[in-house]
């Protein structure tokens, strides 16, 4: 394939194009665990963003009085409520571990293929394990919400 640019040599420094390799479209790459976790990190971040409404609602209800607090408890005790709080717990703990992975990378460690994989599996499995642990404790101390 012939090169299509630069069509005309441009003089201005700001518009000068240097020939450099282009990256293929995202779909060209083989799907990897690190890629999936990258998206999950973003999805859990956004979910937690809206999940803070739950925390705010619960605190405001506790400050408002018994009636308001009973409403929150009715919600968190319902099937849908439990599902949402369970999802929030997982999102939080997964995002925590996955975020720590980001911080390790930020410090310049863990870039070897094997290390990347290990960190990613660790975040995935660790997040699920911690979520189950928290819920087992929750049911043991209080019989659920």
């Amino acid at each position: 394939m012939g090169r299509t640019w630069p069509r005309k040599p441009l003089k201005s420094l700001m518009t000068t194009r240097i020939e450099r390799p282009l990256s293929p479209h995202l779909q060209t790459y083989r799907w990897t665990l690190t890629m999936a976790l990258s998206i999950i990190h973003r999805a859990t971040g956004v979910a937690l963003y809206f999940g803070t409404l739950l925390l705010a609602w619960w605190l405001i209800a506790a400050a408002s009085g018994p009636g308001a607090y009973a409403n929150v408890q009715a919600f968190t005790g319902s099937f849908i409520g439990r599902l949402i709080v369970f999802g929030y717990t997982w999102a939080l703990l997964h995002h925590l571990l996955s975020g720590l992975r980001h911080l390790v990378w930020d410090l310049g460690y863990g870039f070897k293929a094997s290390e990347r994989e290990a960190l990613s599996w660790g975040a995935l499995i660790g997040g699920i394990a911690l979520t189950l642990l928290v819920w087992i404790v929750a049911y043991t101390v209080g019989g659920g919400r």
């Binding site: 000068t16 450099r20 605190l59 009085g65 018994p66």
Partner: protein, 136 residues
């Protein structure tokens, strides 16, 4: 930034336009990147105590919950968590908005709404904790 030598330019992978000028496209340099990490570490440190606090409240009624939430140490931990996480999620959501919304006006409106949401959630939560702490 001084202009690169001609010989350097030939081998560079970057266009002259790609070289960051002043504070770059974000208009805030790397300060948001740094604060995102700072608030991430703060939130991470606070998660364990916050989870323990929530577990302590399970099965209690409002009076019991209010008593625990009003204790100074617990109130302070929760307020720190709220400040760190609200700040962190404000920066994080702004990154997401800037990644996906390219219409300049819609982007401005979204970034503004994001700021309002985070400040409102944080202040409402902090107000509730302070009210519980002062016992009124």
């Amino acid at each position: 930034m001084t202009a690169p030598k001609a010989s350097m330019q030939k081998t560079s992978m970057r266009t002259p336009l790609g070289r960051v000028r002043n504070l770059g496209a974000s208009h805030s340099g790397t300060s948001d990147f740094w604060r995102q990490r700072l608030t991430a570490v703060a939130t991470a440190l606070l998660i364990a105590p916050v989870v323990v606090i929530v577990l302590m409240l399970i099965g209690r009624n409002q009076a019991g919950a209010a008593q625990i939430l009003g204790a100074p140490l617990i109130a302070i931990i929760l307020i720190l968590f709220i400040i760190a996480s609200a700040w962190h999620m404000k920066i994080g959501m702004q990154v997401v908005i800037e990644d996906y919304i390219h219409n300049e006006k819609l982007k401005l409106a979204s970034v503004m709404a994001n700021n309002f949401f985070c400040v409102a959630v944080a202040l409402a939560s902090i107000y509730a904790i302070l009210k519980l702490s002062s016992g009124v």
